[in-house]
Amino acid sequence: MIKIPYLAALTTLFSYGLLFVFGQLRDFFRKIFDYWSHSKLQGYAPICLGLEDFYIRRLYLRIQDCFNRPISSPPDAWFDVVERISNDNNKTLKRTTKVSRNFPQAPAVLGLMEALQPCIPNWRSVWRIFVGKPAAVVFGMGYVTNSAILPVLIGKGGLIISDSLNHKSIINGARGSGATVRVFQHNTPYHLEKVLREQIAEGQPRTHRPWKKIIVVVEGIYSMEGELCKLPEIVAICKKSKAYVYLDEAHSVGAVGKTGRGVCELLGVDTADVDIMMGTFTKSFGSCGGYIAGSKELIKYLKYTCPAHVYATSISPPAAQQIISSIKVILGEDGSSRGAQKLARIRENCNFFRSELQKMGFEVLGDNDSPVMPIMLYNPSKIPAFSRECLKQNVAVVTVAFPATPLLLARARICISAAHTKEDLIKALEVISRVGDLIGIKYFPAEPKKQQLEETRVKFE
């Protein structure tokens, strides 16, 4: 869990309070102006009531240029960010024809952006071999996979226990299913056990009938924390309580593990213990789409009932071919050892980067071996400062604020790719260190400074 330092918490709260007060003041004046100008929509309720879009209007719009930055080249190790200008204080942004070459820290993990041949091959067999499950089914979009699978598997009378920091697609799927949803503390197996035991003993709310089935939903790597899930303990607990495990490997498949097979391989969990494995092809395979892997019967049932399979358009052929080519490269079936090299490089890169950032004194979250590294910013004014300063020096970073993270815990999320070379990483580290000093986000004491202090002490003595 993230523990925010007291001073940072106070200053962050104060900043938000100030922004809120200013926002309310501007809203007040806006109401007066609007009273004088009549609107066409008399008798209709406004499309956004009161404080619902207060955050968007008064806080987000001021720093709008840090988000939604358009690029005009493939999302590779270096890309072109299109510059935008604003004439009305960031309310609207217009594109210019200028582009600047930037070095991104955005999710494009294995750097497998290759061209392809358009054809429709039979490729589910290749995927099955990769993940290690008897059968698999593919959908056109990862978000829809989660939202459409959970309602099919579980309905009213069932229980879904999900991690407190699960992705919005899982929350949507759980809500859409009609089952009762309970949350356990992020990545805490003993709390999961406690919740499971309590719920089985109590039964359904109000009627106390026993639950029809229980599904525990966890993610392989959490996208905003960079932590690996404590999978072996969670699987053991679920086995004991006879609950089903649903693993979402959006960020981890293809990126972690010795041969890239994901978090099961990394943590030594047998894939037969995980009932349903889900993942997306967007991050590591440079394509789009999502998959579900499980037993043959499960996949047959899903093909028959799942709306994302019955109604929606299927994945487009170029995307499918891209996935097959990527898998071939990762497994080394195309004859070269590019896949193994890339996997080794990404592991080296992320461990190197993380240790360097921690030495500099940044507060970095996440476990070793995970390619996602959030750096804590906390303060709302540091978000645009960090983003803009880094962009000036040609490093493109992703800053995340509310609503993707809790209000006080804004962060900059760094994703390492195998396409980054050592020189790129060192340059990025220098830039981030300089900007960090400028903004003041080095919340921890840096190690070299400690060494210097000791040397001076020795000198004095």
């Binding site: 968007i56 890309f79 999710p107 494009a108 392809l116 309602p151 089935k213 967007t282 789009c288 995307a319």
Partner: protein
């Protein structure tokens, strides 16, 4: 009797004399603080104390005994969950045919050439050279995937160009692109409608819209499929309710061409009702964009209604535009709101750039070749005429809709039974005459109750002979299958 009564009277009188004597005792005649205290105050004081005592007693609650650890262990051991999926039945083992070539008007299944009525390729853009060229160029320039959500460097300039193009084509101020057709509706509805708001939707809407309605947690009321009288009475009911209803957001959700029945919504009537009762309209034009209207601008052009009257227009681009994904247009306020509150836009990877450029080129090609729309209309009319006298099947779709929906004239009684018969017809037609069509299979979580049928998607690329072959085949095969029942 008299003596009894008098004796009773006497006893009561003596008792009261005693009582008054007791109360008139000197101690009771004390004067405290200038207030005369009579003896009756003593009784009242006692009563007061008794009442306070009773009120202060806690009410009886049976003692709570939480379950002991051993009991919880026993319950956990005893509990047996249902299996994750129900047992596989025969119909679940059915594998749909696999296409071995592009899904154009003619395609190959199991090595055989078949005429394809199962792909919603209305304008025949699948395999169009200009679109393929722009796709290839985009793939060479940008690669396949976009590797990130729109907020985090997943916005590629092709996306912005495509959005601007669509907005220009339809005449609205802005539009927003979604990565998947199905996710468009179920992300938009929860962004605009929350708990407590009112949504009136047609009962025949497809699963994407139903899921969106469920996720929004608003009050949902369904009106009978395409029945304006039912819609009017429901709107009347809601506006007659309390004044508070005026502060809630109210929406009508309808599809332009219904996927589940092929009917066209009477937009002029709906707009008239919406303006009278002050509701907002969300229109799904997935199957009418590029098809209806003299230049393909959809149902609003077909009914000659300015597009500003419809508040939110959405469409999936996987049908007429032969791309993937979806878009939404409307006023600038509506679109801007979605950029931060629509979950399918914010929390999901963006549309692959080659698909965005395909959609862009498709809109360009459509604007240049308006004769495709007239050809499509002619094809629909031909097929309609040919299928109107098939023994055993009736057409329930609108004569101008590009989806021709055939239903059994005499239903077997259950949707499952109907589906079985229709699948037999479709199989027979495929095997004997190489006509590929699909039945309207429903997912188990779909709440739509409209009858099942066979869907034929007509394309502008179908030739006259294809259509003739199709309806001749149905005329021949249907009686044979129905006799065999």
């Amino acid at each position: 009797m008299d003596t009894l009564a008098t004796a009773f009277e006497n006893t009561v009188r003596t008792a009261s004399d005693w009582v008054t004597l007791a109360f008139d005792a000197p101690s009771a005649r004390a004067v405290v603080f200038g207030v005369q205290i009579g003896g009756h105050l003593f009784v009242e004081g006692l009563l007061f104390v008794v009442i306070i005592f009773l009120l202060s007693q806690k009410s009886y609650k049976p003692p709570k005994r939480p379950l002991s650890k051993k009991e919880i262990d026993e319950l956990c051991d005893e509990w047996v969950p249902e299996p994750l999926i129900p047992p596989i039945t025969e119909e679940m083992k059915y594998e749909p045919p696999v296409l071995q070539s592009a899904a154009g008007p003619h395609t190959r299944i199991n090595g055989k050439e078949v005429i394809n009525f199962a792909s919603a390729n209305y304008l025949g853009f699948v395999g169009h050279e200009k679109i393929l060229e722009s796709c290839t160029k985009a793939v060479e320039k940008y690669g396949v995937g976009s590797c990130g959500p729109r907020g985090f460097y997943g916005t590629i300039d092709v996306h912005l160009d495509c959005e601007a193009r669509i907005a220009k084509f339809l005449g609205t101020s802005d539009s927003i692109l979604y990565a998947y057709g199905l996710s468009t509706m179920f992300s938009i509805i929860p962004a605009f409608s929350k708990k407590g708001d009112i949504i009136v939707a047609d009962e025949g809407v497809h699963w994407g819209i139903q899921n969106g309605l469920q996720l929004s947690r608003s009050t949902i009321v369904y009106y009978k499929h395409n029945d304006m009288e039912s819609l009017r009475s429901i709107l009347e009911k809601f506006t007659q309710k309390n004044e508070r209803a005026k502060k809630l957001r109210r929406y009508i959700v309808a599809e332009a061409v219904y996927q589940n029945s092929g009917q066209i919504a009477p937009l002029d009537e709906i707009v008239r009702l919406k303006e009278k009762y002050r509701f907002r309209l969300i229109l799904d034009e997935s199957n009418s964009f590029g098809v209806l209207g003299s230049s393909g601008r959809g149902l609003t052009e077909h009914c000659r209604i300015p597009i500003e009257k419809v508040d939110i227009v959405t469409a999936a681009m996987g049908n007429a535009l032969a791309a993937e994904g979806g878009f939404c247009t409307g006023s600038a306020r509506v679109i801007d709101h979605q950029r931060l509150s629509s979950s399918g836009y914010v929390f999901s990877a963006s549309l692959p750039p080659y698909l965005a450029s395909a959609a862009l080129t498709a809109v360009d090609v459509l604007e240049e070749n308006l004769d495709l729309i007239t050809k499509l209309k002619k094809n629909v009319a031909t097929l309609h005429k040919g299928l109107s006298d098939v023994h055993g099947l009736e057409i329930v779709s609108d004569p101008q809709s590009p989806i021709v929906f055939l239903r059994l004239r005499n239903s077997t009684g259950s949707i499952k039974g109907d589906l079985q018969v229709l699948e037999d017809i479709a199989d027979r037609v495929l095997k004997e005459d190489s006509i590929f069509c699909v039945t309207s299979k429903r997912s188990t979580i779909d709440k739509c109750n409209l009858a099942a049928g066979i869907r034929l998607f007509v394309s502008a690329a179908h030739t006259e002979s294809d259509l003739v072959k199709a309806y001749e085949s149905f005329k021949r095969a249907t009686p044979l299958v129905l006799e065999g029942q």
